[in-house]
Symmetry: C2
Subunit: 497 residues, 2 copies
């Protein structure tokens, strides 16, 4: 062990540069979605691709391998060591794949995704498979390479890109459990809600009033507008950088709830980013822990808090002020609208109760696809059977609203889907932990005292960045690793009590 | 001479990379002014400074010197040769100064500019000089270095950064001529306008209506909104990239004309950028020729066209539609408002008749400052004398609205000021050439047939990029190099006929 941290310092300087240049890349991506006029697209794509190549070259510089090895021998603090671990993880991911494979993947996904845009509305599964086969073959190749390097199974090696440390075995256990009770629970909720009709709000809802309402609610949720913005894009997202978070939403004149709840969702992502550990910004240890953890924040805001009956009581008068009074704006009715459960074909339109069914189905198909146990031809029959089994809906022949509905597979994002539902489960787990620490949490929320929620999330999640592995983080925050029982309890309490 | 263009191609690839990465830098600069929340500033500054250093490293890579030398020997087309000439110019500028000098300049200008922000309102000339002395010393050092390398005089070497090929001797000749007739012309115009009072519009003018009016006028002026945007910033500018031009303006509820004319000004810059030679975008030969040429486009739009009585006839009904009718919106009155001449203290508030007086004054002070013929202590007396001589206004003791009014000197932008008035003169020269080619030009403008104007500018200026030197460009476009007689004729025709 040496007595200086020269190698570590060199690495930290490299990551600071990556953070600074990544800032420009991230901003350009946000602008592309929120501002860019159509004819700017070609130049923007060229600029961002040049930058992506540059950032990639920086993480794959040969001298980093040596610096990482030397830094391991240096006298580092715990935080520095955690940072080094995350540096190595990013370095390994960037260096794992031969350039030729990366290029072929870019070509294949770009072709597949481009054709998918017209194949989806045309219900053209056969045409899709013709391109998708190449995407899948390359993903299997990638998975095999990553698996050989990491010792993980092929699917786990892909999932590790989004959810470090998560394994198919753990997902199997968790989803297997949910699978047991979910269809029955959905059935009970649907039956119960049939006896509790909700009244639809009557539009139009002027866009300026919707925007003002969203900004007011975001402010109430603690988003720092001195360090971020809200803009409009076709697909809402949370972009920018931790120092300047760019939320986006979309508005429809005939519906304000979708945009409001979507904005609350993005605010959860945004507050996570805005509250990552300041002193370490620019270093991997200061980045958000994982996709599921990020989703646990957006869903903490949208589902746990935003759809909480106490919070809806606070929202109701704000909604009346924004659009004028109408019977549908009564708090109980608003809550019913926000928690309406409906078995549907489309994942992105699903409520929090049926959503996991969509995810479990995709996981149960993409995992064997990657492991080589099934082929693209097998997907439709599996899709139909699982949709019937989990949600009781008939999807036969409807590829448009079936396996063609998501962009993830054409873009080769295998292993990403589970994060959505793992996030919902973590969110329920965080609120269960909060309730143990603060037995009057629900009353506090009802009184609009949200600081307790934010403080807990800041202390246990946001400020921790990537200091711990996800399991360690969950254990420290809630006393246990991921436990889907809290999600079940949350659904039962909200939908069946 | 070799038979391949390998070295040239290598250079072209480098400049394509510079263009692509510069795209991100330019976008970040625009966002900083138009969108960025205050707490984002530190991270943005770090990101942009990282990128500036990266771009600088790319242009100063040692291997470029050799590639430039080899490319000279290659069988290049005329356009490639012009491109190589511009590459060498940019390369020379980037490599001319030792890194230590650049760093010291950054420090000195940053300190001077920062203090100036409070010294200006405090009328603190003495405090300003304490910092400005260092800025000036370093600028003289820079000028001496550049002069030794180029054979230009010290001031010319600095001016060459903004206006390649322009010399103090030429500016002396041009400004010397203007100096002869300008004070007398101003006197005549002021006397005449005293007999032609203008009626002031009565506000408020709602911002949404102002924005809609601006967008309508910009559209009429041919700005391509599919390849650009209009946003709001404190200091209006034209930013972005040729493929995606970002105009900004600012709105005041009590005045719409300032914002409207400012927007028309930026539209001139914007159309130049949007119509630079497409096939060569990314190469220096496809960049705008110079600062004066750029200003000749914004002033062609704002002054030659925007304040043209025929164009004002087209504007009047649009203004009435935007804000409702009022007597001040009668076309002749609007024209009077737009062409009101007033001797004032402030350059940025000056009309097109008195503006050159402000520029001549600055040129006559900054040139001897750089050449070492005078010192900062000499500035106030010179300023007072020249303001009296050129504009007949008394500025004694008023530093705030005197030599402290501009950011250019604290930022060491010596040699920039002349470009503003050279641009106004070129603009008059272009319209004189247009009138020779199209004797009915003024009637066409009155009928709203602006295509003839745009086509002429596209053919003679925009599409030429940096293919020719400025003198060659002017000669090809108008049959002569810069000739201030056209500017005089323009002012006489508009203000005294």
């Amino acid at each position: 062990m040496t007595t200086t941290t020269a190698a570590y310092d060199e690495l930290a300087a490299t990551w600071t540069r990556l953070h600074r240049l990544g800032h420009l890349q991230s901003l350009a991506g946000w602008d592309q979605a929120a501002n860019m006029p159509p004819k700017g697209n070609e130049a923007r794509a060229a600029a961002m691709s040049e930058m992506a190549a540059l950032l990639h070259r920086m993480v794959t510089e040969p001298k980093l391998a040596d610096a990482l090895a030397r830094a391991e021998q240096e006298p580092l603090s715990d935080l520095q060591r955690a940072n080094l671990r995350e540096m190595r993880r990013q370095w390994r991911a960037a260096n794992a794949l031969p350039e030729a494979l990366v290029q072929r993947q870019k070509m294949a996904t770009s072709r597949c995704e481009h054709a998918w845009r017209t194949q989806r509305p045309a219900n053209d599964w056969k045409g899709f498979v013709a391109n998708f086969r190449a995407v899948l073959e390359l993903a299997r190749e990638e998975a095999a390479l990553l698996s050989a390097q990491t010792g993980l199974t092929k699917y786990d090696a892909l999932m590790d890109r989004y959810e470090p440390g998560m394994t198919g075995a753990q997902v199997d256990r968790v989803f297997g459990e949910v699978r047991q009770w979910l269809p029955g629970l959905i059935q009970k909720v649907v039956e119960r809600q049939a006896r509790e009709p909700a009244r639809d709000p009557v539009g139009p809802f002027p866009l300026a009033a919707q925007r003002a309402l969203c900004e007011q609610v975001i402010g109430l949720l603690g988003f720092d507008f001195q360090a971020g913005r809200l803009d409009v894009s076709t697909h809402p997202f949370c972009g920018g950088v931790p120092e300047d978070v760019r939320l986006t939403t979309r508005f429809r004149e005939d519906d304000f709830l979708g945009s409001l709840m979507g904005t609350i969702h993005e605010t959860g992502h945004g507050r996570y980013e805005q509250n990552l550990p300041r002193d370490w910004l620019g270093q991997p240890v200061a980045e958000a822990r994982s996709m599921a953890l990020h989703e646990s924040q957006s869903l903490s805001f949208e589902m746990q808090l935003g759809s909480h009956p106490g919070f809806v009581n606070r929202l109701a008068p704000m909604i009346r002020t924004a659009f004028g009074d109408q019977p549908a704006f009564e708090a109980q009715n608003l809550h019913r609208l926000m928690t309406r459960v409906k078995r549907g074909l489309i994942r992105v339109d699903a409520d929090e109760v049926t959503y996991p069914a969509h995810i479990i189905l995709r996981y149960e198909i993409e995992r064997p696809l990657i492991e080589g146990e099934i082929e693209p031809e097998d997907v439709p029959a599996l899709w139909d059977a699982k949709m019937m089994e989990l949600l009781g809906v008939d999807t036969r022949g409807n590829f448009t609203d079936g396996p063609l509905q998501d962009v993830h597979w054409p873009e080769s994002l295998f292993g990403y889907f589970p994060c959505y539902s793992l996030g919902a489960m973590y969110a329920a787990q965080w609120f269960a932990a909060m309730r143990r620490a603060m037995p009057d949490l629900d009353e506090r929320i009802g009184r609009g005292e949200l600081t307790a929620v934010f403080d807990w999330l800041r202390d246990h999640i946001w400020s921790q960045g990537s200091r711990w592995t996800t399991d360690e983080l969950a254990l420290r925050a809630s006393g246990e690793v991921l436990n889907p029982a809290h999600f079940k309890a949350h659904l039962e309490a909200r939908y069946l009590d």
